[in-house]
Every structure is written in C-alpha cells, then in structure tokens.
C-alpha cells in the first residue's frame, strides 16, 4: 500500500515535470497562482510506532499560493490539500496562511492567518513565541512546516528612529507536538487516559499581545521584545493528586521580556538573544504542575570558512528561577530537570555542483542532560522545478523524560520530493 503511494506520487511528479521549465501562472497583471506538488515519506528505523505502523509520515500534498496585489492592498492565501496514508486518515486540507494586508509609507497592517518569525536563533526560539509544529520537525517534513500560522492582526509602524511590530492574537493556537500514535513519548501516568485539553477561551482578557521594536545599532540588528499570553505547550495537572483519574492539559499564562542582537563580528555573524519567561500562574515556583519562571539565553556564531561551506554553532542555556521550591514540590516518580539546562547546536552546510547539491548536518546536544538529535540531509535540485531531499532524524542519550532522550525509539529516515510551479 505504502509502496503504491510512493509509486503513484512518483508518477505524478514525472508527469508534471515533463513540460520542462515551469512558471507561476499569471491571472492578470496583479494576481499570481503558484505552488507545489510534494511527496513526503518518513519510515521508522528503530522500531514500529506505538500504533504498529512503520511510517511516521506518508503523504502526497498540493500547495496553492494565491497572491493578489493592488497597491497598497494585498491578499495572500496559501492552502495545502493532502492525502495521508497513515492511521486511516484520507484527504484533508490545511489553510497555512490567509491574510489581507495594507501597506503605506509609515505603517501597515496584516489581518488573518500569518506566519510570524522573530529572534535570531537557528531552531532555538526564545522570543519567537508563535505557534510551531514539532511533529513536522521530528518526522522529516520540510523546515517551513515547523512554523504554523497565527490568527492575528499585525501592525507595523515605521518612524525614522526605529521600526515596531505589534501583534494581537485573539484566537489561541497551541503548538503541535508529536502524536502518541506515531511517536514513543515519555508518559509518567499511562494509566490515566482521560486527558482533556483546555485552550484559553477567546476573550479580551485572553488576547495575546506581542511587541517587537527593532533598529540597527552600531551595525548590529537589535530588537527588544515583549509578549503577554500563554505557553503553547500544554502542562498536565491531576484532578486529585492522591487518586488521579484525569489529567487536565492547560496552557499556563506567560509573559516574556527579551532582546536580541545580530551582526558581523570575528569574521562571521554573531547572534545574541535573551528572554525572561515569567510564569504568571506560578510566580513563587511552588506548583510542580506548572512551568517555573526562567531566564533563557543564546549565543550563536556563523562562519563561511571556505567557498559554499557554512558552519554555525549555538549555545543555549535556560535557568530556572525558583529551583528549591520546584524540587520541594516535585511528586515522586517524576525525574527532576536540572536548574541549568542547556543545548548546543551545530549546523554544517556544503553546497556543491553550482549549488544544486546541498549536504547538510544539523545536531542538537544537551551537555546538561546528555541527549541529542542528529539530522543529516542530502538535497538535490534536479531542475529549477524539481528537487528531492533524503535525510534522517536520530535521537538518543539523556533519559526517558528528556526532550530528545524520550524519542530514542523514534528514529526515522525521510524522503521529500517536490515539484514547484
């Protein structure tokens, strides 16, 4: 069955790739329609999924992008239609982005579902508090699927001395995490299967606000950030600590205060970012079921030692504010996280054959916990419109509860094939 899926996708690609060089469709002067066809398959290499399947992912997907421009207005819609071969899911669709935009000299507004990316980290997010899809990231989708659209209104204000982004999000969107059907995940209370997830209801009080002010200072791109809203990762609380029957998954209140700077230094690009995570429902840190306030810091350095080769290293650290209170209240059976938790990353990219062949290596390693994630990938552009990538995700180290350690049985190897038009 899976093999058939792959074959049919391949046939589809060959068919569409035949006409040769492709171009976006122009529907009149101000409207373009383009997109892609994609096959994306990810096979388990360690063992089968919890649901018995051997694929994290097996799907064919069409993306259509409609872009209509009439200065100063713009409408942009990006929609995916896909067929998923796993877990009996059939045809489905996903509105990735869809917004209306107005731009004038000194300000602009974007209303609707939009992808927003802030901060200077490479796959490490401190001040980028916007929705993400870690299921996509761990199962071998193209990187753009790590970001999810937020249903928001964004204002940009551009006086001469600095630029400002103001994002108002009335409708909460949680992060997407790997599903327990397809991923082996740490589960401290497997006997409790009743796990209602309660998102913050839509109200004026629950409306998220994110601000960014940015400008260049001494050749560095500098930003300051503020966010008031919610953690997008659910936290579990039992209804009754002595005889729990239910885990309530909630999204605790969060404020973030942060800053970043990025610029040329030491023969490369230096990145700095920091943020204070204020867990507003757990100010004194005594509730073990809610996140503790944290300070998060990142330093990154990118360099090009030789032609078409780029290396980037990052060191990220988070510090728990109320650690003794956390330890004192941690229930038995749940492994304690260290006060200082850290993460290193290394990205190596070599482009070859006139930048049609890309060899890349990405890894996360946490010195504090000892767990890691490796992601080697080879991507080749056959033509201007057809590319394919083959890669792997390898997890391990740490312990059964740590970020990557818990995924030790979820190693996978993936294929992405795309025809763009």
């Amino acid at each position: 069955m899976k093999f058939f899926a792959f074959l049919s996708a391949l046939a589809l690609f060959v068919f569409f790739a035949m006409p040769g060089s492709a171009r976006a469709v122009n529907l009149g002067k101000d409207i373009t329609l383009d997109g892609f066809l994609q096959g994306n398959y990810s096979a388990d290499t360690a063992r089968a999924n919890p649901d018995g399947d051997y694929f994290k992912l097996a799907e064919e997907r069409v993306q259509l992008k409609l872009d209509a421009n009439k200065d100063p207005f713009r409408v942009f819609v990006k929609g995916d239609f896909f067929h998923d071969w796993i877990a009996g899911r059939k045809f489905d669709s996903d509105l990735r982005e869809g917004y209306f935009e107005y731009t004038s000299g000194k300000w602009g507004a974007t209303v609707g579902r939009q992808i927003i990316t802030w901060g200077v980290g490479d796959l490490v997010f401190i001040n980028d508090v916007f929705p993400k899809d870690y299921d996509a990231f761990f199962s071998g989708r193209p990187l753009e699927y790590l970001k999810k659209g937020a249903d928001a209104v964004k204002f940009g204000v551009y006086p001469d001395f600095a630029s400002f982004d103001v994002v108002i999000i009335p409708f909460f969107t949680p992060n997407k995490y790997p599903s327990p059907d397809r991923f082996w995940l740490f589960n401290p209370m497997p006997q409790i299967t009743n796990r209602p997830e309660v998102e913050p209801p839509v109200s004026l009080k629950n409306t998220e606000v994110a601000l960014r002010a940015y400008r260049q200072v001494a050749g560095f791109d500098t930003s300051v950030y503020f966010y008031r809203g919610f953690y997008r990762q659910p936290y579990a609380a039992t209804d009754n600590p002595l005889a729990p029957t239910r885990l309530n998954l909630t999204f605790p209140e969060l404020s973030v205060y942060g800053a970043s700077a990025q610029g040329s230094a030491l023969g490369g690009v230096l990145s700095l970012e920091a943020g204070y995570y204020d867990s507003r429902q757990n100010e004194n840190g005594t509730d073990p079921f809610l996140p503790n306030s944290q300070t998060r810091m990142l330093v990154g350095y990118q360099r090009q030692p030789w032609t078409d080769f780029t290396a980037e290293v990052q060191y990220y650290v988070e510090y728990m504010q109320h650690y003794s209170e956390y330890l004192a209240n941690l229930p038995a059976g749940i492994p304690a996280v260290p006060r200082w938790n850290d993460l290193m990353s290394l990205r190596l990219v070599q482009m070859l054959r006139h930048q049609t062949l890309k060899l890349s290596w990405f890894m996360f390693y946490s010195p504090a916990v000892g767990d890691f994630m490796l992601n080697p990938e080879v991507k080749y552009n056959f033509t201007d419109s057809v590319w394919a990538a083959v890669g792997g995700n390898v997890f391990g180290g740490g312990n059964s509860a740590s970020q990557f350690g818990q995924l030790a049985r979820d190693n996978n190897t993936y294929v992405q094939v795309r025809y763009e038009f």
Binding site: S21, A22, R23, A24, D34, F36, N69, D71, E101, T103, G108, Q114, I115, I116, T117, V120, L143, E144, L146, K147, G156, Y158, D160, S163, Y214, G219, D221, Q262, G263, S264, G267, G268, V269, S271, Q302, R303, Q304, P305, W306, T307, D308, T310, M351, H354, Q355, T356, N381, T383, D384, S385, W387, R418, E420, F421
Partner: protein
C-alpha cells in the same frame, strides 16, 4: 567622501585628458567606478541563464537595486522572480570597500530574515559562474596590477591589465582584463588558475548607453574547465531613480515594494 567623488570625476574624464597612459592601478580604479558605481543609484531586471556542460539550462530572474553611499559604500537589494523555489525571496547586501559585506536573506515560507556570513566573497552567486565579487566588485587594492600591453579588441582600443591577488585565498592565480580605453568597462577577462591554466572567461557581449552611462547589458562568464557557463541579460536597466535609503532595510526585505522591483 571628497576622495570618492574625486575618483568618480576622474573616472568620467576621457582618457585623452592625460598626456601619458595612466598607471595600471589607476586604470583598474577607473574601471571599477565605470563598472560598479555609475549613477547615484541603479536598477536592473536581470535574466540569468545557467548552462551546464551537458546543456541543461536553469534560470534566475531577478531585480537588482543598488544605491551608492559615501566612501565607496553601496547597498544592494535583490528580489527573485524565478525559479519557483526562490520566488519572492529577497536578498540584501551592505558592501564596504575595506571589510566583509553584511548580507541578509529573507525566506518567505518562514517569514524570516537571516543574516548570512559573508567572509568568502568568491562563493558563487545563486549557483552561477559569477561570484559575489563579480556582482558587486572586488577591492582594487586586493590585487597587484600591471599594464601588460595595449591592443585592439575588435574595434576597441584596450588596456590589458594583469592582476595578481595579494592573498592566496582566491581560486584564481591571476587575471587578465581588457579595459576599454573609452568607457573603462572590462570587455573581456581571463581568469587563470594557480597552475597557470585558463579557468574562466568573462565577456561583455552587449554595451548600451543608459542615461549617459555605458552599461554592459549582456555578459557571459564561462568556466572553460568545467564547461559550465552563465549568461546575464539586463532586460531593463536604469539609473538615478531616486531609490530611498530606507528601502535597504528588514521591513522592505519582508515587503518588497512593487514600485521598485517590477
């Protein structure tokens, strides 16, 4: 600032104003000014065709905006129309004559602006046979220039200059340039590798005068060793449009103004 203007003025004077042939360094300085700095600003819609040794073609269609700033500093803004996987991408360079450029890339699918390291100026520009330096100019002081001879190339009188890099961190051992005595544009360049074998050949295939500035509107770089070549055609070119200085900013990378890119 003053020295820069002076350099430009010199570059615009006809060669006959000098009693003697100018020195090689001076010729190359004028050539740089004529090739990379004319006008206060510049806009070109370019079609790049990359042709592999086997004849397979790839297309890069883009608009390049350039603005001159005091001290020989320049800012570049590039918007990609084609191919599909880079459509709507924008790329920005702050070029400084005496240190590494600053480069930014905007990736629309992630709505993300990233700084990218720019220490290697010989890296290929978008996979073509042109390096970043070929697009925005190589600092004249990085090579030792000598006037080898003066000869006609076709019907045009040229200086032939040999340029030897002072540092060994480039892929060529030396370069011969045929500089038009009238316009100071390079009509041909031959790059030799470190063993002395011919590596790459640049030719100016068409020159048009736009708003008084002689402009190479069709050019080719061919790697004679690999057989790969790249042709660049300026479908439109214009100078002194009054590009605003704040165009070269993160805000406009994310929202490229159609007025300037089309």
């Amino acid at each position: 600032m003053k020295r820069f203007i002076f350099t430009l003025v010199i570059a615009l004077l006809p060669a006959s104003a000098f009693a003697l042939s100018p020195g090689a360094q001076e010729i190359m300085t004028k050539s740089q000014a004529a090739f990379y700095y004319p006008g206060r600003d510049f806009k070109a819609r370019m079609m790049m065709t990359l042709v592999s040794a086997g004849g397979q073609k790839r297309i890069r269609e883009l608009t390049m905006l350039r603005k001159n700033f005091p001290g020989g500093n320049q800012k570049y803004f590039i918007y990609f129309f084609q191919p599909a996987d880079v459509k709507d991408m924008t790329f920005m360079v702050y070029k400084y004559p005496d240190r590494n450029s600053d480069r930014w890339l905007y990736i629309p699918a992630l709505n993300m602006v990233r700084r990218i390291a720019a220490s290697d100026k010989r890296s290929s520009f978008v996979g073509s046979d042109f390096s970043y330096e070929d697009v925005s100019g190589r600092n004249v002081d990085e090579d030792t220039h000598t006037l080898v001879k003066e000869e006609k190339l076709g019907s045009k009188d040229c200086y032939v200059i040999k340029s030897v890099p002072k540092e060994a961190d480039v892929e060529f051992g030396y370069k011969l340039s045929w500089i038009d005595k009238k316009t100071y544009l390079p009509l041909k360049e031959q790059y030799y590798d470190k063993r002395g074998q011919l590596l790459k050949v640049f030719t100016a295939d068409e020159i048009k005068t736009v708003k008084g500035f002689p402009t190479i509107t069709k050019r080719t770089m061919k790697n004679v060793q690999s057989g790969h070549s790249t042709q660049v055609i300026f479908e439109k070119a214009d100078y002194n449009l009054g590009l605003p200085g704040n165009l070269f900013s993160e805000r406009f990378l994310k929202q490229p103004p159609r007025k300037w890119i089309e």
